[in-house]
Structure formats: structure tokens, C-alpha cells
């Protein structure tokens, strides 16, 4: 009896598993494109799925299958899919993750595939983020500046000048104001909390405003690291706030953005610099009556410039239907659709037509501040530098962490970033 039960169970299991095997598309049917999206917030997923549905309804001959990916693991998952020849036709990712895939020949060159409408709608500075070698390997469509989320009541009651995109704080003024603000807030409270779990991107991207570049490409195309006085402005200001002025909380140095929000809501910090999309979390989690506002990051000699790595859409080189995939991208990134995607992700579109949409210029939830900052966004300094991930992990992250905590000084930071960094880059550029 037991044997019979076991045999039946095994047979049922085998049938179930066999039934779950992958099936091939029926021959002669419509072209099927797999679109792997990394949208994750409900509004964003809804916008993505709705657009796919609209496309499928209007194009019975080219059907798009929506596949959910995740930011957490996209690189490994794509790498394996590329190697195995099973990559999705249309790939959602971030521009700073594309370099190795583009140079590895996994992503199609979109230069001749994209319509001129889309090419001219997105500014050249955004296209730079997805241009590797001579080819364009992704369409940058959503971008996210770093802004300052501020407790409106603390800011207004302190009487400090509230910055606008037209009249932002300079880095010197910002340091002075955070010092004064901290003094007015009382013990255990700080004007600012810098969540610096990822110190490299914050330092490099905001550093552009002060003219910091760090990575310099020579005439031979090779990149070297040089640390100029401008490169020290932003890191120096942050370090002074934490260690000299005591106007920035030391405890948030090793934390991520979400970790600083409870302290922000509780009045422990008056300001927290965060990515623009964090507004959604604030809108959802802020206690009733909490008034918050969005301020532009401080400006240096290059104004409000800062580096970004936009979200991108690429087409796999192995896709047999690149032309059809490009048609889908053209539809997906029509200005009105880009606005839907941007609002769903609480980010900013790269397209100029989409960015002009009135719904992205309202004061509510700080949309207008972000839209005003958008035209100053540039390609992140190390965007297409081969060897950057290794430099970031092994050299820059520990060096910046020690610098911000006060363990090393500016000279030591410079030495480590440049000397150790150039050794790493040289290794990649020999190939």
C-alpha cells in the first residue's frame, strides 16, 4: 500500500514538473519580445504594464511579454543570460551598469535603430551616459538628482535663507548655515544627516558642482585620476560638518537613505540629502502634520551641475527582432508615456518634451525643484571608465569612509584615490 502511494505521488510530481517545462513559441505566430523591467513600486509597475498592454493591443503582430526583474540582482542575472544566449530582447538597467555589457558586445548599437524623434528629444549630455566607444547602447529615460529633503518648520523658524534652484546655497554658505542651524536646534540634534553608505557616488556626483572631475580622459583615450583642489571642495565640506562643526550627525555616515528618515521625521535632523525618488517614502511614511520641502543641492563654480546614472532601456545584441524592439522603445518613450513612467517612479524624465509637462512642475512634493535641477544634470564622472567598479569597491569606498569619519586627512585621501586608483585603471586599460 505504502509503495503504491509513494509511486502515485512520484508519478504526480513528475507530471507536475514536466507540465512546468518551458514551451517554445508556436511557429507562425506573432513576433514575441521579452521586456525585462526593473520597475518595483506599485505605481511604476502599473505604468509599465499598462504601456505594454496598450502596445500589445495596437500591435497584434509584435507582442511584448512583461518580465519582472529586480535591481538587487540584475547584473548577475543579465551576465548569465547573455552568456547563455537567453537574454531578454529589451533590457531595463542603469547606465552605470552597462559599460561591461556594451564593451562585451552583448548590447546592440542603437545608433541606427532609434528614430530621430527620440534622439533629438533626449539631450546630448544624457546620451553621453549610454555611449560606449562609438555606439549608443541604451536609451537613458529616467534620471534622479540628489536633492535636500528639509523639515520646513525647522528651516523657516530658524530664519535662514531658503535656497531655490535660481539662488542655491554655495558650498561655503551651506556649511555656515548648517553650523548656525545646529546651534539653534539644541543638543542631540543636527542640521544635516549625510547617509553615506555609498560615499563614492555622493562625493563624485555632487563634486561636479564645484568643478571636480577626478577622472580625466587623455587624447589617447586612456583615463587617469587626478585630484585637484576642486575635487576636494565637496568632501572637505562634508568632513568639516561631521568632524569640525559637529553640524552633521556622525551616526548616519554608514547608513543608507531610508535609515535616516526616522530621525528626519523625529526632528533629530533638519535636512537629509537623498535621491529625488525618496520623496515617495517620505510622502508615505511621514507622520501626520509633518511638513517637508525639497531644496536643490548646494552649487559651486559650475552651478547646480551634478552627475547621474540614468535608468536605461537597451536591446540585446542576440535579439533576432532588434527593429521591432526599437519600435517598441519609440512607443514606450513617447513624451506622454515618459511622463507616466517618471511619475510612477517619482523620478525625472530625460526627454525635453516630457520634462516640460506641467504635472512635473508643481510645487507639491517638490516636483518643481527637481525639474529645475534636471537641466544641470551630467553624466556621472566615472560613467564609462573601465575598472571603475573595482576602484570604487577596493580603493575609493574605504578611503572616503575613513576620510569622512576623520581617520585620515585630505592628503592621505588624495594619495590613496590617485596612486592606488591609477594602478587599478592601468590594469584595465592595458587590455
Amino acid at each position: 500500500m505504502r509503495v503504491r502511494v509513494f509511486t502515485s505521488a512520484a508519478a504526480a510530481l513528475a507530471l507536475l514538473l514536466t507540465g512546468c517545462s518551458a514551451g517554445d513559441d508556436p511557429e507562425g505566430g506573432p513576433i514575441r519580445l521579452r521586456f525585462q523591467s526593473l520597475a518595483w513600486q506599485k505605481e511604476s509597475v502599473d505604468a509599465n504594464k499598462a504601456l505594454v498592454k496598450e502596445w500589445n493591443a495596437a500591435h497584434p503582430g509584435i507582442q511584448v511579454d512583461y518580465v519582472q526583474g529586480s535591481w538587487d540582482s540584475v547584473h548577475d542575472q543579465l551576465l548569465t543570460s547573455f552568456e547563455g544566449g537567453e537574454a531578454p530582447d529589451i533590457i531595463h538597467d542603469a547606465s552605470d551598469d552597462l559599460a561591461d555589457f556594451a564593451y562585451g558586445g552583448y548590447l546592440a548599437d542603437l545608433t541606427d535603430l532609434l528614430p530621430s524623434r527620440l534622439k533629438s528629444d533626449i539631450p546630448a549630455r544624457s546620451w553621453e551616459t549610454t555611449t560606449f566607444g562609438d555606439g549608443i547602447h541604451g536609451v537613458p529615460f529616467l534620471q534622479e538628482p540628489r536633492v535636500i529633503m528639509a523639515d520646513k518648520r525647522i528651516l523657516e523658524s530658524s530664519g535662514v535663507r531658503v535656497p531655490t534652484p535660481e539662488h542655491p546655497w554655495s558650498w561655503e554658505e551651506f556649511r555656515r548655515i548648517t553650523k548656525d542651524l545646529t546651534a539653534s536646534m539644541g543638543e542631540g540634534r543636527y542640521a544635516i544627516a549625510w547617509p553615506l553608505k555609498e560615499p563614492v557616488s555622493v562625493s563624485l556626483n555632487l563634486g561636479l558642482s564645484a568643478g571636480g572631475q577626478l577622472f580625466h580622459r587623455g587624447a589617447d583615450g586612456k583615463v587617469t585620476i587626478r585630484f585637484t583642489e576642486e575635487d576636494g571642495v565637496v568632501p572637505g565640506t562634508l568632513r568639516d560638518q561631521v568632524n569640525t562643526d559637529l553640524s552633521a550627525s556622525r551616526s548616519t555616515l554608514g547608513t543608507g537613505g531610508s535609515d535616516a528618515l526616522p530621525g528626519f521625521f523625529g526632528g533629530r535632523y533638519a535636512m537629509v540629502p537623498l535621491g529625488f525618488s525618496y520623496r515617495q517614502q517620505i510622502a508615505q511614511q511621514a507622520p501626520e502634520g509633518f511638513e517637508w520641502t525639497v531644496l536643490p543641492a548646494p552649487a559651486g563654480k559650475d552651478g547646480l551641475a551634478q552627475g547621474v546614472s540614468p535608468q536605461t532601456l537597451s536591446i540585446a545584441e542576440d535579439s533576432p527582432h532588434k527593429k521591432e524592439a526599437a519600435q517598441f522603445l519609440d512607443f514606450f518613450l513617447q513624451p506622454e508615456n515618459m511622463v507616466r513612467l517618471a511619475r510612477g517612479d517619482w523620478m525625472l524624465p530625460t526627454g525635453t518634451a516630457a520634462l516640460a509637462d506641467p504635472s512635473l512642475h508643481t510645487a507639491k512634493d517638490g516636483w518643481a525643484t527637481g525639474a529645475a535641477v534636471a537641466r544641470h544634470l551630467r553624466s556621472a564622472p566615472a560613467q564609462s571608465v573601465r575598472g571603475y567598479p573595482e576602484w570604487k569597491d577596493k580603493v575609493a569606498t574605504p578611503a572616503y569612509q575613513e576620510f569622512y569619519s576623520g581617520a585620515i586627512d585630505m592628503a592621505e585621501l588624495r594619495k590613496r584615490l590617485v596612486e592606488n586608483g591609477n594602478l587599478v585603471l592601468a590594469r584595465y586599460q592595458r587590455r
Binding site: 518551458a22 519582472q68 529586480s70 547563455g84 525618488s277
Partner: protein
Amino acid sequence: MSTLRTSRAARFGQYLALLAYLVFLAFPFLWLISTAFKPAPELGSLHPTWIPKDPTLANFRQAFDEQPLLQAAGNSLVAALAAALIAVVIATPMAYVMARHRGRLATAATGWVVVSQAFPFVLVIIPLFLVLKNLHLINSLLGLVMVYVVWSLPFALWMLTGYVRAVPAELEEAAAVDGAGRLRTLVSVTAPLLAPGIVATALFAFITAWNEFFFALVLLKTPEKQTLPVVLTHFLGAEGVADLGPLAAAAFLATIPSLVIFAIIQKRITGGMLTGAVKS
């Protein structure tokens, strides 16, 4: 008297250490449950509480609304149960041979088992992917189960070999003297004594497969095939931003099946051990 006092103090210390360990183990799980029932404003509170002030099921509703959790749980259950069953069926006779017939081959096999545990996932995933692709087993639970079986088999074998060695060979010899054949001895004498080991090994294989993320992520392409750990990552955004409430709710639900299975099986492990003790 002094010895008694020392003994009591030692026992008190042991209980204290055990309690501390239990608290350490329980903390993340209890915090997960607490988070799952907290409304959004409480998740961002500067002074978080163990018991939600205004408990809500909204996180569970949102989790189910946004992701196909039930379907994913079904896929995980099928994959984990199949992997556990197949791993045990294959490993049991192999473990018996390795334990009872010591020789160069058995030693080499044991060495291979140990070495194979040292391979990182990323090293094997691409060749494995290509093999499964040629077999048309990408995006298939059958392919995933095969990977899980292969992945859990070495440790299962190692574990079961230890259990087989713990069964006195004299019992089998006695059965042989009483006239039992080889198969009869294995089925009637050895297998019942091995039951707790088999159950423990199956549990290990089940939990390994139930929690596994990387292979499932890479091998399963379409949403309807994805397993629970893969679907849970859909609550995470770029740079570690998380939809904390629904993520906690979904993660809490994901722990329930393994807890239930463990609760059922652990009695059997203990019972089986006692049975074995009486027989020997």
C-alpha cells in the same frame, strides 16, 4: 554541598546562555512579524515599538496585490519537496555503500563531496546554464529541481553517511544470522534506525531549496515560474531602497511553510532516535 552549588550555578549559566541564544535567534523573526503589521508612519518612527500601536493588514494586502505570492509559494513548494524527495532517494543507498564499504573509492568519494561544497555558485552557474539550455530545461521547474538535487546531494550524502555509521553493524550481522537476506536486513533493520537521519536530511534539502535564490533567479524567466525568494526581491528598489512593510509581510508568509514542516518533522526526528536506541 559545594559541588551541588557549583552544579546549580553551572546549570543556571547554561540556561542563561541558552536563553540569550534563543533571544538572539528569535529577535529578527519577531521584528519581522512586528514590521509586517505596522502602518507606514510607524515604519518611519524614530522610536519604534515591538507591538504596533495601530496594527494593520494593509502590508499583507499590498504584498498580495503587487506580487503573485501564492503562485510563487506553490512553485517553491513543488521545487523544494521534489528536491528533498529525490535527494534522499538517491543519497540513502549511496550513503550506505560509503559507510559500510570503506576503501579507496569511498574515501575518494567523501573527499569529492567535501571539495564540491567549496564551489561558489557563480563559478558553476554559466556552465550549468548552458547544459540546461541544451536540455531545454531553462525556465522549467524540472531543471531547477535537478540543480537543487545536484547541489544538495553532496551534503545529504555526507550527513546520511554519518547516520549509517551510527547504526551498529552487529545488528545487521545478527539479522543475517537469524536468516534475513540482504534486502530484508536493509528494509527491516537498517532503514527504521536510519529514519531520523533520512528525515533530517530531507529537511535540510527542503530548506536549502526553499530558500535558494540565485539559481532560481537565473534559470526561471517568466513570472509564472518564479519562486518565492525571487519574487521577494521585487519589493527592493535601486540602491537598497525597500518597500519595507509589504516586504516584511511577504517574508513573514514565506517563513511559515518551513516552520510548519519543521514542527511536524521534528517530532519524527526525536521519535525515530528513541526507537533506534531501544532496538540497539
